[in-house]
């Protein structure tokens, strides 16, 4: 899961979005079937060729020439996304040991495992741009690259696991579905696969909340409390309002980004209102109402000052999340060294065998 905050019931919950992922996948196949103009005519044609490929909704591939700033933007974005998957394992992982049934335990464990898989997949996509996973991990650990700020909030009750699935994964999907059409091929393909899994995650989160909100009064209160705490941080996942977003214009031109932060936030709110009604939970916004003229819901904006504070490191759990990640990395150093030493010994043996 991933936001832009760095720097259905069954069908109602994301069924439409999954359709969009499938449409993006079909478009990807069509784009691949249409012949790209073979290659740049000459070295003078590099930028022209790049612009043409992007303009034609074809994909830029790792071997292609690309502007240095495009490469850097993608590395930053894909890395932040990968880091978010890895750090995002912590808040939900917090409840694996206490999951209230064996079935829920299994689903949650599998979900957190999926996120590790997404992280690896995204690091691999970033590596196609000429940077190694080790370098990226170092950038995360020394604080030079960020992860999604939403994970700096604590999971205080079991219902938070449901709220993360429904709202945080939901927001991530709204953010990521357009990325399935991103101009960089490896990222677009990674996003298609990840979005499909995220839609399962969102569904299971929604189902947790549905069960709670139709359970005992204590369970319903737990669900409402989770919604109260996660609603605005989830809205903030789409990043600052359009006027203040620093990376947006160029990214739109390169077709890395396809919709503005505010457009995506609106889409998310419109999607959630009906779902909250089915849950029987109240979105904590007294000013939330349908606007017939705009054909969309009016809503209260999240506290962007709070978002900036969390981004800059002063959220409730920033220090805890980073300390946890650094500790795991440091504790594992001797194991990684042993694996390297063992592999070197085996390689040396094989060499001797070949020589002999």
């Amino acid at each position: 899961m991933y936001g832009n905050d760095f720097g259905a019931p069954e069908e109602a919950s994301g069924g439409g979005l999954l359709g969009e992922v499938e449409a993006a996948e079909a478009a990807l196949r069509e784009a691949a079937a249409r012949q790209r103009r073979g290659a740049p005519a000459s070295d003078d044609d590099l930028a022209g060729f790049f612009a043409e490929v992007v303009e034609a909704d074809q994909k830029i591939e790792p071997r292609d020439w690309m502007p240095e700033a495009y490469r850097k933007t993608l590395i930053r974005q894909i890395a932040q996304h990968a880091h978010s998957e890895i750090i995002g394992m912590q808040p939900e992982g917090n409840w694996i040991s206490r999951a209230p049934s064996l079935k829920r335990k299994a689903i949650l464990l599998a979900k957190v495992q999926d996120e590790a898989g997404h992280g690896l997949y995204l690091y691999a996509a970033a590596e196609t741009l000429g940077i190694s996973r080790d370098e990226l991990v170092d950038l995360l650990l020394n604080g030079r690259q960020k992860y999604s700020s939403i994970f700096n909030y604590p999971t205080l009750t079991w219902a938070d696991v449901g709220a993360i699935g429904w709202l945080v994964d939901g927001a991530a999907i709204v953010n990521q579905v357009p990325l399935c059409r991103c101009s960089y091929g490896p990222y677009a393909r990674a996003m298609i696969r990840i979005c499909k899994e995220e839609s399962f995650h969102q569904r299971q989160g929604y189902e947790i909340l549905h069960t709670l909100s139709h359970g005992t009064p204590e369970q319903k209160a737990m669900a409402q409390d989770a919604l109260d705490r996660w609603w605005y941080p989830s809205l903030a996942m789409f990043g600052p309002p359009d006027g203040e977003s620093t990376h947006s214009t160029q990214s739109m031109a390169w077709k890395i980004k396809r919709f503005s932060n505010d457009e995506l936030r609106q889409r998310f709110v419109d999607m959630c209102v009906q779902q909250a009604e089915i849950l029987g939970l109240t979105i904590p916004d007294p000013d939330l109402r349908w606007n017939d003229e705009r054909q969309a819901y009016d809503f209260t904006q999240p506290d962007y000052d709070e978002l900036m504070r969390v981004i800059s490191g002063d959220g409730p759990c920033n220090r805890q999340r980073m300390a946890h990640r650094r500790q795991a990395h440091a504790d594992g150093a001797w194991v990684r060294e042993a694996a390297t030493a063992y592999a070197a010994k085996r390689a040396a043996e094989n060499k001797e065998k070949v020589a002999a």
């Binding site: 394992m89 209230p100 064996l102 299994a106 359970g215 500790q327 150093a333």
Partner: protein, 243 residues
């Protein structure tokens, strides 16, 4: 310990798997590398899956209306029948791999034999889980070799882990002649498997006469009660609730 009922036998296998899953899942977000985070979660999920099948069946054998969750969440440590090995704290990665090596080298022949036993349900469970155990054994063996024959530090830690965990192996093979599979009959295969791995890993088996036991009778280490307190806290706070 003599003549356990089919319920007790099934319960003990289910408890082994459940407690092993709970411990392995503690590694999530903490593994030495990301691939290992995924692998340990996989193994935890396998153990949890086996636990659910076994506990569900145990509940049916008992016939008192207890389902997998009633057995997992509403018993105290004195009612748990798992071996002590699985409840030991994870320790460092070497201790976890020593525990997993011994557990999987026991579970593989156990589930394999179970797959051939007269009880159809247990046979079906054994037939499914033995494939998973083969992977667990493979994974643990590979790591024990890497750590044993890796660096000086990893060798020291791996040997210390084997020394620490080895005494708990004896309990796994206590004779139970009336059981669908008598654990005592599995010992020779276990010893051969483990000896081969340890030798290749340049590790030795400690000489010790100490053989802690009691898990099968519900007399555990101090660790289990804490593990259960954490595992059961939410479920018990809402009696009768659905999740």
């Amino acid at each position: 310990m003599s003549e356990r009922t089919p319920f007790e036998f099934t319960l003990s296998l289910g408890d082994d798997a459940l407690i092993a899953a709970q411990r392995l899942a503690e590694w999530t977000t903490r593994a030495p590398e990301m691939e290992e985070d995924i692998a340990l979660a996989n193994i935890a999920l396998d153990q949890l899956g086996a636990a659910r099948l076994l506990l569900t069946y145990a509940g049916e054998l008992e016939g008192a209306g207890r389902d997998e969750d009633a057995l997992a969440y509403l018993r105290d440590d004195r009612q748990f029948r798992n071996c002590l090995l699985v409840e030991l704290p994870n320790g460092d990665f070497a201790v976890t791999m020593a525990k997993l090596l011994f557990l999987s080298a026991y579970q593989l022949p156990l589930y394999t034999a179970l797959a051939e036993c007269a009880d159809e349900r247990l046979a079906a469970i054994g037939s499914k889980t033995r494939k998973e155990s083969a992977y667990h054994l493979d994974h643990a063996s590979l790591w024990v070799k890497r750590l044993g024959d890796g660096t000086e530090e990893s060798h020291r830690r791996m040997q210390a882990a084997v020394d620490q965990v080895w005494p708990y192996v004896a309990e796994l093979f206590a004779a139970d002649p009336g059981a669908p599979v008598d654990p005592a009959t599995l010992r020779a295969e276990f010893d051969a498997t483990v000896a081969a791995v340890l030798t290749e890993a340049t590790l030795t088996r400690p000489e010790t006469g100490w053989a802690p036991a009691g898990g099968r009778d519900g007399v555990h280490t101090e660790h289990l009660s804490y593990l259960l307190a954490e595992m059961q806290v939410l479920h018990r706070a809402h009696p009768g609730a659905q999740w």
